[in-house]
């Protein structure tokens, strides 16, 4: 795995292999991001299910609910 560095003071561009520490940091950050993504999706799904359950209970559609709140 390489990283590209663009030096804005000179315009020079270099390609440098990542160190083991940098690879570990990237992998840890990616794992955290994936965990956060799954949590956000689960939260969104829970909210959507609760919203639909309420609409079903009221016997109205989402469009009708939006009309009531407009």
């Amino acid at each position: 795995m390489d990283k590209v560095i663009v030096d804005c003071s000179t315009g020079e561009q270099t390609v440098v292999p990542l160190t083991a520490e940098e690879i570990a940091e990237l992998e840890a950050a990616a794992a955290q991001a994936e965990q956060d993504r799954l949590a956000a999706e689960a939260e969104a799904a829970t909210k959507a299910a609760a919203r639909q359950a309420l609409l079903d209970k009221l016997g109205i559609t989402q469009e009708e609910a939006a009309l009531l709140l407009s």
Partner: protein, 175 residues
Amino acid sequence: MANTYVLIASNTLSSSAASVTFSSIPNTYTDLVLRTSARSTRSGIDDGFAVVLSSNTNTIYSHTSINGTGTAVQSDYNYNMSNFYAGHIFGINGNTTTSSTFSSGEFYIPMYASSNKKQLSFVGANETNATAVQIGAAALFWNSTSAITSISLSSLFGGDLMSGSSFFLYGIKNS
């Protein structure tokens, strides 16, 4: 009102890379704009940028964002992280999008060289020939009074930035 818009540096990847860093950013501008067009090797439709400023990986990065596909919307926030989620699932095309398509994005970084804490913004849209693709916007807070001297971008989910991805860093002066 900005009256200059100067290209500081740019890069178009000729082969895949884990990250792209703009280093030694001059402190002679008022604001920075970073335009991106990117695709990653992540297996999936969507990806986002992980961003580190000035090589600082302390837990001083916070973000909140909203994104959607046109039929569904989602918001999320994270605070005191070691990098920005600049587009949690938007901002970079994943590698199952239509071949040779790339996302479009823009970071706006006001007062990057000041001694105040920094607020940034990011807007991005992915691209694919399908009925649903993510677009979104994020507000970013960097809890540091240091000047921003470098910007590093990588795939949020650990993919490589693919060949053909391009990055353009502009400086803006207010006078």
